[in-house]
């Protein structure tokens, strides 16, 4: 099936530390921007500038001045080795440059050469290097082999966050005109059209009409999927994959059924039809703001009281951690509700209040496990209690089905393994990396499949869902195993009994 080696799953719950394979992934890199418009739309040079070394160093100086964290991360590593075997891409590829410390060192060697006295005068002594084309090529390759999942930072005694370094590296590369096609093209569509896929409003409406038909055919109950309805209470902002892809669309159906049964008026927006915000992957706060501002504008225009965010990992990180700064204040929303609110928090509150009628036995054909998505698990929180991002989705699952088991400790909660496709890497040109990077998660999944008969892998992230539906078959799992948490709710909810 693959023209590259797929890791072999074993009897262990967590993958062993692999033998080192130097340069195993050296050649692998995603397509760079070829059409200059994909860069210029975001304010970056259309192609690699001639004096790129000078511009890159100047950009690095700017970032070091702006982000104290970046300098602390570059200064404080003591090479203790804690992070070395924590990255799913290292575990799956064996390439030592996929050890988080080595990934950081790609920037550290440049930082030392241009910004520290020792590196300026005695570069060899402190492993400082000139920013040559060869180094730039390594940056492009290995900073696009990091999904910015932050698992390594959980184990770092200094809290060094490789994701921040990788975002800064991509920001520097964008500043010299070396953009990644997948991320930049998509972010441009989001800013211009309102969603990553480039769905125009009539296409969204057409899809929603189809969903309304399907739900009525399945249940006999008319459930509306409103678009651009002024005066609705809730604006739902969800990843546009929920309008397009499988299994995502079943989650969208689940959200709609929850709103319907709870009797809460809601709407989607064709202007702000995207929760995802790829600007985070490239560290570009100006573009993050441009994309997010559409949501603020839509919320004001529609006059909603609350904003709820659908199942999307980094959308939630951007919403939870950045919205207030970049598009706040939200003084026009109802202060009774959290801003923003995660759809899982929303649904869980309804379940606890007894507002939903869920028949768990409707999911008796499923044995469910839950994959904590990295940006929800490690970069944000959910609900009013610490650790809510772990308990709330699980509480919804347990309220919707009878059989739930967790994967091995060390692979869940804050120690969760990335799906292998996050951070702007969900592109076909990185398929070998995506498959190998999924290895630790697949291993933990195989264990619960063999021991408990798990046949449903629930996730609350559009990237996780797409990534798993692609990589599961490489590990001889059924593609259809992956689904959303609200897909389980959708199956369990008894429409027409409570509304």
């Amino acid at each position: 099936m693959a023209d590259f080696d797929v890791p072999v799953l074993g009897d262990y719950p967590i993958c062993p530390v692999p033998a080192i394979k130097p340069d195993a992934m050296k050649g692998l890199k995603p397509f760079a921007v070829n059409n200059p418009a994909h860069n210029t739309a975001l304010g970056f040079p259309g192609a690699l500038v001639d004096n790129w070394e000078e511009v890159a160093v100047a950009k690095m100086r700017e970032l070091l001045g702006k982000y104290r964290s970046l300098q602390v991360f570059l200064d404080s590593c003591v090479k203790c080795g804690s992070c070395t075997d924590k990255c799913h891409y290292f575990i799956g590829t064996g390439d030592p440059r996929n050890m988080p410390v080595a990934r950081q060192d790609l920037m550290r060697q440049i930082y030392r050469r241009y910004f520290t006295a020792a590196g300026k005068y005695l570069p060899k002594l402190v492993d400082a290097k000139d920013f040559t084309r060869e180094v730039l090529d390594d940056w492009y390759s290995y900073y696009h082999q990091c999904s910015q999942c932050r698992r390594c930072s959980v184990y770092c005694p200094f809290g060094i966050d490789t994701a921040e370094i990788s975002m800064a590296a991509r920001e520097i590369m964008d500043a010299i005109g070396l953009g990644q096609k997948y991320t930049n093209e998509i972010l441009g569509k989001n800013i211009k059209i309102g969603n990553n896929l480039g769905l125009p409003p009539p296409a969204i409406r057409n899809t929603l009409d189809g969903i309304e038909e399907d739900v009525e055919d399945d249940t006999g109950v008319v459930v509306r999927f409103p678009l651009d309805v002024k005066g609705a209470d809730v604006l739902l902002v969800t990843p546009s994959a929920d309008f397009f892809a499988e299994p995502h669309i079943d989650g969208l159906i689940g959200y709609g059924k929850v709103f319907h049964q709870a009797g809460i008026s809601w709407t989607l927006s064709s202007y702000a039809s995207e929760g995802a915000n790829f600007a985070m992957f490239i560290g570009s706060y100006s573009n993050m703001k441009r994309a997010a501002m559409r949501i603020r504008d839509a919320a004001r225009e529609l006059g909603v009281k609350r904003i709820v965010v659908g199942e999307c990992g980094h959308a939630w990180r951007v919403a939870y951690s950045f919205w207030n700064t970049i598009i706040g204040p939200f003084d026009f929303l109802d202060p009774k509700y959290p801003v923003p609110q995660h759809i899982c928090e929303f649904t869980n509150d309804l379940i606890r209040r007894g507002a939903l009628n869920l028949d768990k036995s409707a999911n008796d054909h499923r044995v469910v496990t839950f994959h904590d998505s990295c940006n929800v698990a490690r970069a944000s929180r959910m609900g009013q209690v610490p650790g809510g991002q772990y308990t709330i989705p699980r509480d919804i699952i347990k309220a919707s089905c009878n059989r739930f088991v967790d994967m091995a400790s060390g692979t869940i909660h804050d120690q969760t393994f990335c799906c292998g496709g996050g951070g702007g890497l969900l592109t076909d040109d990185l398929m070998p990396l995506r498959v190998k990077g999924a290895y630790p998660r697949m291993q933990a999944l195989r264990q619960v499949q063999e021991e408990h008969g798990v046949n449903y892998l629930a996730a609350i992230c559009a990237i996780c869902k797409s990534q798993f539906s692609k990589v599961l078959p490489y590990y001889k799992f059924d593609r259809d195993m992956i689904g959303g948490v609200h897909q389980l709710v959708s199956t369990a909810i008894q429409l027409g009994t409570k509304e």
Partner: protein
């Protein structure tokens, strides 16, 4: 940009093999793309390709997988209106592979 020769005419494609100028599409190009993947286009493939092109014409975007499966189910029978069947026809994914044959832009996002 790369170019390919189809019936003596050169056609531009991007680095992932999608047509640059959508207006240049013709059936021979679809046959050529499929041939490069060792696929022989059957009438069932053509049902999908034709639907994709009609939908794109109406909405300037490829249809959601759900919309496509439903349409194919109506045309070819309910047992074929599912993504499993579409994956049999287009093993690299109905959205991406079929769009390429149909001369549509690659759908990209969190999909």
């Amino acid at each position: 940009m790369a170019t390919i020769e189809v019936n003596g005419k050169s056609v531009e494609v991007d680095e992932e093999g999608y047509l640059i100028n959508l207006g240049e599409w013709n059936e021979a190009i679809a046959e050529r793309f499929a041939g490069d993947d060792n696929t022989q286009l059957t009438p069932n493939h053509w049902e999908v390709i034709t639907f994709l092109r009609e939908y794109y014409n109406d909405y300037q975007i490829a249809p959601a997988v759900r919309v496509l499966t439903k349409a194919i189910g109506k045309k070819l029978g309910p047992e074929k209106g599912n993504s499993k069947y579409l994956y049999e026809l287009f093993p690299y994914g109905p959205a991406k592979q079929a769009c390429r044959y149909a001369g549509l832009p690659k759908p990209t996002g969190c999909i």
